[in-house]
């Protein structure tokens, strides 16, 4: 048995391709000491100049547009007037401009939809103006004199716009998603990227990594030959992708729905324009995070309607609020917990606050009525059949007719037959399922190997869920990033999964892989994967059968 890799971190595929280089962690916090701006107007013109210079030097059209938009915010007379008022009332200028920016950000967020996504940009500009007043300039990207993979918590537009793709050959961020700036710019520059990689911070600087932007995997200190193997796979994959389009199906015409994971209205619009069959996971948290008061019914209806109308007749599966004490949801009033992953989170937040879930369901039903669509709805962190039943009642009473649950808690997978009696479908969240099944914290780089979705124990739980689905004649899907790995997708189909939801960029490769195999082959590779004793072995034997 050959060791496939030493450590594999899992992120969301953001920009396809494979990059091999030393990793460099970049803090991005403003550093260089410069002379502080004299006042708000001076800060504004300095930041506008700086952003204007970066816009002119931007390596892509998108980068330039983003920077020009930021420059407009930095020059905004109302923002500056609001900050000045606060200074007059006694606030320190840096604090005053941050607070003023936060105020506008809140306003934009309350409008929902596309505008809410500009809120983060306004906050960014507030930070830049404050930094200018404090004599701090924004840091530049590292220039070590050789190619490297940039690893960071997140990248602001102004950072990535100056990026030289011959030096920064790949990007990994801890945060971000399919439509964040990092993703968009990486794709424009044609460099691989993985985002939302929770363990990115554990990549020690200088270590060689192979970044697989097509699957979101980051191989740290990879075994010899890995980069070549992946490059060959990329080449073959590109050939196949060119040949296959349309709905997902195996070579012998078993339908496997290929869907998108989305988390914002921007994501929705982008995904809707792609060759895929709908949304398998619409994360609704973005509406609720960082809010001091619950988003109103109208705002929710507006936002859901935006997403639903983008997809028309195509399926959209909406997940109700998935928050916990580790997420910033002040209005929920959750108490601090020692183990947030094991506490009041997901559907459980409806125990202290049933009204929030009720309102969300009503808003979704109203949005459905307004757009003439029929969204599916599912609840996260469902642990027992009783919870599934109670949720189904709530959702159906609110007027939603297709109700399901996420399977991420092992107890739910083990009791799937009973669980699925009450609902119409289940979607397996492999990321959290692996966390709970292998008792390994998703945020901790040290235990990353245990979180590998190829872990045979996880495959066993998927099989148990599918057996429950089969017993109750209910559909089972996967919406964790496991679905984005073409080889693993084949295994999942062999286990009984019939819909796969992933970052849109990953869909073509999965579609092409499925089109190359018949169902019997999928069933066979699922068997051999479950017979393996380690995740690495499972991956290796399946790869051997499908690509050999």
């Amino acid at each position: 048995m050959s060791t496939y890799t030493r450590t594999v971190l899992h992120g969301v595929p953001a920009s396809p391709g494979v990059a091999t280089a030393p990793a460099i962690w970049w803090d991005g916090a403003a550093v260089d000491a410069v002379e502080p701006a004299r006042d708000l107007d001076d800060a504004s013109s300095r930041v506008v100049d700086d952003l204007g210079r970066r816009a002119a030097a931007a390596t892509t059209g998108e980068g330039r547009e983003v920077l020009e938009a930021l420059a407009m915010f930095a020059a905004d007379p109302e923002l500056l007037a609001a900050a000045k008022q606060r200074v007059e009332a006694g606030q320190e200028p840096p604090e005053a401009v941050r607070t003023a920016a936060a105020g506008y950000a809140e306003q934009l967020r309350s409008l929902g939809g596309y505008l809410a996504e500009r809120a983060a940009d306004v906050v960014d500009v507030g930070d830049r103006l404050a930094a200018s007043l404090q004599g701090r300039a924004m840091a530049s990207l590292p220039e070590p004199g050789h190619a490297y993979v940039l690893v960071a918590r997140d990248l602001a537009p102004a950072d990535t716009a100056l990026l030289d793709p011959s030096v920064v050959v790949g990007i990994v961020t801890e945060q971000g998603g399919p439509t964040s700036h990092t993703t968009i710019l990486a794709r424009s520059l044609g460099i691989p990227a993985a985002v939302a990689c929770a363990q990115a911070g554990s990549v020690a600087g200088g270590h060689e990594v192979v970044l697989d932007g097509s699957t979101g995997m980051v191989h740290v200190d990879p075994a010899a030959g890995l980069a070549e193997k992946l490059a060959e796979r990329e080449r073959r994959s590109a050939e196949r992708r060119a040949r296959v389009s349309g709905p997902g199906r195996t070579a012998d015409d078993t339908a496997v729905k290929l869907l998108a994971n989305i988390g914002t209205v921007d994501d929705a619009r982008h995904a809707a324009g792609q060759d895929l069959e709908g949304v398998g996971l619409f994360r609704t948290e973005f509406l609720f995070l960082d809010r001091s008061s619950e988003p109103g019914l109208d705002e929710q209806v507006e936002t859901y309607a935006d997403v639903l109308s983008a997809f028309g007749d195509r399926r959209v599966v909406v997940r109700t609020l998935d928050a916990g004490s580790d997420k910033p949801v002040p209005f929920l009033g959750l108490s601090a917990e020692d183990n947030p992953a094991l506490g009041i989170r997901g559907l459980r937040t409806s125990w202290p606050r049933p009204d929030v879930l009720q309102r969300q369901l009503e808003a979704l039903a109203a949005a459905a009525a307004r757009t003439g669509t029929r969204p599916w709805v599912m609840a996260p962190m469902v642990s027992t059949p009783h919870e599934a039943d109670a949720f189904a009642h709530l959702a159906r009473n609110a007027g939603l007719d297709t109700v399901g649950v996420m399977v991420e808690v092992p107890a739910a997978a083990l009791r799937a037959t009973h669980l699925l009696r009450h609902v119409d479908f289940a979607s397996i969240g492999t990321n959290d399922l692996a966390q709970y099944a292998l008792a390994a914290d998703r945020q901790l780089g040290d235990v990353a190997a245990l979180l590998d979705p190829w872990q045979p124990a996880v495959l066993d739980l998927v099989a148990a869920t599918c057996a429950g689905g089969s017993a109750q004649s209910k559909a089972i899907g996967v919406c964790g990033e496991a679905a984005a790995d073409p080889l693993l997708a084949t295994v999942l189909v062999g286990l009984g999964v019939r819909s796969l939801s992933m970052a849109p960029v990953a869909v073509p490769a999965v579609r092409a892989q499925l089109a190359d195999v018949d169902l019997a082959t999928c069933t066979r590779v699922a068997e051999v994967a479950r017979q393996a004793t380690t995740a690495a072995e499972a991956r290796a034997v399946v790869a051997g059968r499908l690509t050999g």
Binding site: A69, L115, R118, V122
Partner: protein, 95 residues
Amino acid sequence: MPSRTATIASSVGLHARPAKLFVDLAGKAARDGVTVTVARPGAEPANAASILAVLSLGVKHGETVELTAEGEGAEAALDALVEELAVDRDAETVG
């Protein structure tokens, strides 16, 4: 104070690029001494030279807004702005 009504032609509404172009023009007018406000009929006027104020209006495609200008050259400024709003800028934007 001269004022004009205009209908938003851009299919994305008064957001993104259309808003940027509108605010750029209003900003130019402001530098030439003409202050312009934009409002939904009967509602609070917003500073047309402020991208944040304009975006916060959340004006959609097909809606009508009232533009009011003050200062020397107000009429000409209003003409330019009304003309700008009448163009479907969204049809020009790339993907």
